[in-house]
Symmetry: C2
Subunit: 246 residues, 2 copies
């Protein structure tokens, strides 16, 4: 809780402190993933569940786009839709994520059907979409600030996965390369926005809470994966059952 | 998937089959809870998280109540609000749940603040409230049908907890006794409603999906508790940390 008005720089420091405590690069499942401790079926489960997050991001961004009041803000946010949905079939972040699930040997129709999704993944992802739909524009923009921390996790993930898994190639990880430049551009805008627009103690607290909430979304997705797929493993009824434990 | 129109009796059988596969009495955390395998801190974590579910049920029911088209339906659904919210302060299911958290030694203000909630609990409970708000009345009513299975789990829970935990008394479990008569009354109405109103293959499939969804809500809440609080334990940043491992 913040009890006095922070300077913009203090607000930025408080946001970074939330990431240092709560961002999902600290989660045991992320560490196992990039340290090469998972088998192919477990990496498939991660990619399959994370697909729903990726596929929901442009819907989340479109929800916010529809509420933004100025052309300037809408142009900025529209860029995110271009990044994720692409400019023609087969381009954009969601299509590149499907190249990852293809490369891991998952059936594309099965991935897109969401039939094998963990219920907890669904609830966490939809909580994020609903948050952005229902909260203030300031909170919605602040909830995107996990991108401040994503270049680090992407670097760890790509280098660790290429080093440790013979079933992972640079081609299958094509999703991540553009994100290394897109995410900093996105988060620089969002950080500037919240530093300028969070002008009361209540607004600053709402911004900090929004980032905490979003860290919980990402963290909870890895909780579910770790619980379901890492030994002893408790796959819920109906969720994806890996065949490949190599 | 159902591919032909079921008779009302076949629909009922299909609903019961979903419960037999997916209801959370089959979850390892429930079994540990009623078998006396948990310590006091773990039982506290369960009661603290489940409180948010209990406290959200009347909000969920009020959301549906506001959409029901007839006095007959609204009277039926209003009864649920009376059961949970009571007729005066200190009565009703939510107040009785707080007697459970009191009896387990949890600070009431802390429980009600939701500060120690697992993010996954929040997302699962809110997914249920949103489902009832956003889906058809038929699906909303069908999602309540987990009450078909609750008398069994309540009996197991009460007898198992009284037998196995010296920190649990009949007074602290006062929540459950009225539920043994309320839940069958509720579920008999809801089952009759869906058997009468699910008249197309699509409606029947929607009813089955709604119950599957709701089983996923309850199951996912126990996934999170088991992952966070049962050895080795992975409590997310900011969630309740038990002090009492007796």
């Amino acid at each position: 809780m913040t009890h006095r008005l922070l300077t913009p720089e203090e607000l930025e420091a408080a946001l970074l402190a939330i990431g240092a405590e709560r961002y999902h690069n600290l989660h045991p499942f992320h560490r196992a993933l990039h340290d090469g401790k998972l088998n192919k079926g477990q990496v498939q489960a991660w990619a399959l569940n994370r697909y729903y997050y990726q596929a929901s991001i442009p819907a989340k961004d479109a929800t916010l786009l529809a509420r933004l009041p100025t052309a300037e803000l809408r142009r900025e946010w529209r860029r995110r839709l271009v990044d994720h949905d692409g400019t023609e079939p087969g381009t954009g972040g969601v299509a590149r994520w499907l190249r990852l699930t293809d490369g891991l040997g998952l059936d594309r129709a099965y991935v897109e059907s969401l039939d094998g999704l963990l219920p907890g993944t669904r609830f966490a992802v939809e909580a994020y979409v609903h948050f952005v739909r229902d909260r203030s524009i300031l909170e919605a923009i602040a909830s995107s600030l996990t991108e401040l921390f994503s270049p680090t996790i992407i670097s760890e993930r790509v280098s660790g996965m290429l080093r440790n898994y013979d079933f992972v190639t640079e081609e299958t990880l094509a999703y991540f390369t553009p994100r290394l430049t897109q995410a900093p551009q996105d988060s620089a805008f969002a950080l500037g926005y919240v530093k300028e627009h969070a002008r009361t103690v209540e607004q600053q607290q709402a911004v900090l809470n929004a980032l905490t909430f979003k860290c919980g979304v990402l963290w909870s997705m890895l909780d579910e994966l770790d619980y379901a797929y890492v030994a002893p493993g408790h796959i819920p009824p109906g969720a994806f059952k890996p065949q490949d434990a190599s």
